[in-house]
Each structure stands twice: as structure tokens, then as C-alpha cells.
Amino acid sequence: MKSLKYIWRNVMRNKLRSMLTILSIGFSLALMTILCGYIALQDVWGNEAQKYHRIVVMSTMGFSGEVPIAYVDRLRAMEGISAAVPYAWYGGMYKEQQMAFAQFGTDPNHVFNVWSEFKIDPAQLKAFQDDRQACIADRRLAERMQWKIGERIPLQGTFYTFNLDLKLVGLFDAPQNTDSLWFNWYYLDEGLRAKDEPLSGNSGTIFAKTKDANSMAVTCKAIDERFASSDHPTRTQTEAAFAQMFADMLGNLRLYIFVIGMAVVFALTLVAATAMAMSIRERTTEVAVLKAIGFSRWNVLLFVLGESCWITTLGGLMGIALGCAFLQGMHIVASQFVPVSVIDLAGVWLLLLLALAVVIGLVSGLVPAIRAAQFSVVDGLRRVI
């Protein structure tokens, strides 16, 4: 207890230097917190997806391949399946803006059976089902775009040649911000067919819900086997695996970012080590006096390591708090990027980051600590005598 006080006083001895070290460690750990938070986010998505036992059917050719609309009905007739809908990515431009939000063509009559956890006012759902040109949107998307019910939403196709002229008739609530707009797949398909487009009759992907979580793997396999010898073979996977597939596309990028983050952490460890070496050097005589009085090398080593760990742990706490505040801020102002609150993201990784701060302390304090421990008392005292 007594030595903690002494160590703390040493931390406060040169406030500016300690503060700068704390800040540099803090910023590098804030960066790491944001990176790790982003990775945790994808895990949360994966777990979330697992909960609703949905599966995704796509073409073996990937997103450029075709999944015939007729497959939807065949899926609905299958053993383990409770609901299925076409789910076609439209990717249109809204008011000259590319990718302003996600747009999907789906089946209004079944879509809330597949996403049964989403909520919508029954009257609004009915309006969606009754009008071919109707669309509904995630409430948070509508808020972001400042749309009101009745709003006309024209979408200009980018790879579809048919432009959509949609009317917002309802808002749905999802557990997390989907940033999505749903319109009637048949409206798009009719338009394409009228133009004799080859893309017509393609559901894009099919989202289906299985009756329970255990049957997901079997059902995926059954679907793919069933269409294996057709003109349009399929690749079916769980929604979690599907999300992971997207994540893996970013995977390498994630690794690079992680490596850069660690490099920053390493650089700032050296900064902390320099600061620590400087403060101990200024205290050579004092260390010699401590040893003369009877403090062992081991005591001295712990004093120095304690001091450096204290500094970096403060920096770590600050950085983690800062990083979490940033993630939470993003969740509030831009929930399409961070759809989950920090509380849901929090996990062991936060403790690991704190441990990383302690490790930085140990590493940065090690050389000065060993030097202080080994320094000869007599030489240290001669500086003043």
C-alpha cells in the first residue's frame, strides 16, 4: 500500500511528461478499441443471424448468377422450411446518389414470415401488399432521409434497366438498423418483362426461414442437392455464413488495419519507454539512496515497472473509454454503420485491450527497470558526494 503511494507520486512527478505518455498510449488504444469493436460487431451480427435460423440461397455462380423465381415456391413446399421470399438487390440511384441505402425487391406477403422478428403496423403492411408500387423502409432509414409516409421515392436502376417509382407506405422496426428499403419484387419483374429483359424471372437470392435451428444444415444440403442437376444449381448457406462471406471479402483489409494498429501501438510503446528511461535517469541518485537504505534490486525493479504500468494503464483506460465513446457516438448518429450499442459489443476483448496496456507498461518499463535495479549504489551516490 505504502509503495503504491510512492509509485503514484513518481507518476505525478513530471505531470506533463506523464500526461503526454498517457495521451499517446490512450490514442493508440482508442484506435485499437475501434478496430476490435468493428470485429466484434461482425461476430455479433453472426450470432444475431444464427438466432433466427434463416438460410440464403444463391447461385453457384455467385451474385451474377440466376436463381429462378420458381424456386421460391419449391422451397416453400419443402419439409424443413416455414417461409421463403425472393430477395433481389436493386442497387439503384436515389437523387443522383449511388448506394444511398440498400434496396431489395421481395414478396410483401411473406417477407415478415421470414423476418418474423421485424415489426410493422398491420395497416401499413396491408398497404404494402395491396399496391404494386408501394415500398416500406426501416424506420431509422426513413428518419435519416427525412421521409414521411406517402413520400415518392424514385430509384434509377444501375444494372437493371427498369427504373422504379415507389411510394412509401410503411415503416418497419428491426432489432438493428438495416438501412434498407423493401419494394415488391413483382413490380420490378413486370417492368423487366415488359422490356423483354433477360434479367426477368430472377429472384436474385432467396431468403428462407427453417422450422428450427437444428435443421438448418440438413435443409441447406437438401436444397442444393435438389437443384444440383438443373440449369441453375444453387449454393445455400446459413445467414450467419452468408454474412461471414461478406466479412471475409473485407477480411484481408481487416488484417492490414489490425497490423497497422499494432504497429502504432508498438511505436508508442517505444515513446513510453523513452519517457520512462528519461525519468529514471533523472532519478539515479534517488534510486541509489533507496538501495543504500535497504531496498532490494527486486523492490527497485517493481517500483519502476509499477510506475510504467500505472501510466500505460491510465492511458489504456482513457483510450478504451474514448474508443467506446466513439463507437457509441457512431451508433447514435450513424447506426447503419454501427447498428449495435457498445454495451452489446462489449466482451472479453475489452479486457484484453486493457491487458495490452499493462503489457505495454511492462515492455516500456523493462529496460529502465533492469538498469535501475542493476545500477551500482556506490556509483549512484558518487554523483552527489
Partner: protein, 239 residues
């Protein structure tokens, strides 16, 4: 002689000390013999560079002799390990330095408490020791002052309190008045006398000042690495 040795608190036998710097060797102490009885008060004088601090460091267990024996409080210091010496110092030696060497981030109270944290004393016992030590040096009203808030003389008194707080057998002082004016120096010397006479501490004091040395019971001179015994004051019965 043998009986004498066992009585003596400090026995220095044929001690030499040389320092090696790169390839050449600096001989500093060239065969020192010295004994000190309990409750003795020795002043060690000599010109600068004669090896006074070196000898004092050997006796205080901060360094080991190149040859010969240094036996203090029954422990042969030349053969003890570094960590044993550290523990031994904390139990037997009180240090007073020329430049006080208090820890600047600790208050007077905490500086005096510092060596006590190495003992098994309880918090309460430590508190008693600290207050008693600061009482002896007359600084009971400065417990919470930091070293920079004290005068040089007061700092040295705190460092004396630190040296006596653990109730050591031997007090070593390397030019304790070297950095003080005559008045403060006089106070320190008076304190040292009291420690010797009232508290029965054995003291070795290095000094350049003949006036300071004259307050000791015994004076030895060190010149070019050898002791020249010019006893200024009558030597105690045990010498």
C-alpha cells in the same frame, strides 16, 4: 587482540580497495586496519580523494573490499550476497548524506517512514517510530512538509530522523555538515552528539572540518589510502 575484536562493532582488517577503469587500476585503500567499539564516535578526516567515502562505503556494506575483511555487527560483509547486504543495511545502518538525499515526492513524515516499510512493524508502530524520530530532531511540526519546503538544515535533520527511525546499530555520515552554514551545521553536530551520548549510537562521520571532527570521541586521518593515527581526543577504553 582477539577479545578486543569480538567486542568491537566494526572490524576492518588489512583492507585494500582498488577500482578498475578500463585497463588501468586505481588503488584507493592500501591496507586499512580499524576497530570501532560500540557507542564510539569516530571522525574520519583527510584530503579530498584520499578514500574516505570509499572506506565509509565498505563499512556501511555498500561495497566490498578488494582484499581483507570488513566485519560489522558480526557480519563479514565481503562475503555476503547483494540481497543479503541490502537487508543487512536496512537493519543495521543509518545513512546521513552530505546532500540530504531525501525523496522529493515524499513528505518529511513519509521520508522517515520509508526505511520502516522494509521492516515488519505494523502501521501503528511505524507511526510511533516516525513521530519519535522527528521529535528527536525537533521537526514534529513539519510532518507534512515536502523537502523543497524545508531549509537545508531542516532537510538534514529529516535525513537524520530517517537514519535513526529503524533504530540502527551504526550511523554513517559522509560530510553531514558539508553543505550547511555554521549555525545549521552546529545544530546537526549537536544532534549527532546526542545520538551518541543519549541514544548510545555508534557513529562514523567523514568530515573536512576540524571543528566538526573535534566533537567526535576519536579522530583518524586518511592520507593516500593509509590511516595516519593522530588522535586528537582521548581514545575510549575499548579502543
Amino acid at each position: 587482540m582477539a577479545a578486543n575484536q569480538s567486542d568491537a562493532l566494526v572490524v576492518v582488517n588489512n583492507v585494500t580497495k582498488e577500482f578498475r577503469r578500463d585497463s588501468f587500476v586505481i588503488p584507493v585503500l592500501l591496507g586499512i586496519n580499524l576497530q570501532l567499539a560500540r557507542q564510539d564516535y569516530l571522525a574520519l578526516m583527510g584530503p579530498s580523494g584520499s578514500g574516505k567515502s570509499t572506506l565509509l562505503n565498505l563499512i556501511a556494506g555498500l561495497d566490498r573490499p578488494t582484499s581483507g575483511e570488513v566485519i560489522v555487527c558480526g557480519t563479514n560483509l565481503g562475503v555476503s550476497s547483494e540481497s543479503k547486504l541490502a537487508r543487512w543495511r536496512s537493519q543495521h545502518i543509518g545513512f546521513i548524506f552530505q546532500l540530504y538525499n531525501l525523496i522529493p515526492v515524499l513528505t518529511a513524515y513519509e521520508n522517515v517512514e520509508l526505511p520502516l516499510t522494509l521492516t515488519r512493524l505494523t502501521r501503528r508502530q511505524r507511526d510511533e517510530h516516525v513521530r519519535a524520530a522527528l521529535e528527536v530532531v525537533g521537526l514534529s511540526d513539519r510532518l507534512d512538509h515536502y523537502p523543497r519546503q524545508l531549509s537545508g538544515g531542516q532537510e538534514q535533520r529529516v535525513s537524520i530522523a530517517r537514519a535513526i527511525a529503524t533504530d540502527p546499530t551504526l550511523i554513517v555520515a559522509d560530510e553531514p555538515t558539508g553543505d550547511l552554514d555554521a549555525k545549521s551545521g552546529g545544530e546537526i553536530l549537536e544532534l549527532m552528539r546526542r545520538l551518541n551520548e543519549e541514544f548510545h549510537k555508534t557513529i562514523i562521520m567523514v568530515t573536512h572540518d576540524p571543528n566538526a571532527a573535534s566533537r567526535a570521541k576519536r579522530i583518524v586521518h586518511l592520507e593516500k589510502g593509509v590511516l595516519v593515527n593522530t588522535n586528537a581526543t582521548p581514545v575510549g577504553a575499548t579502543a
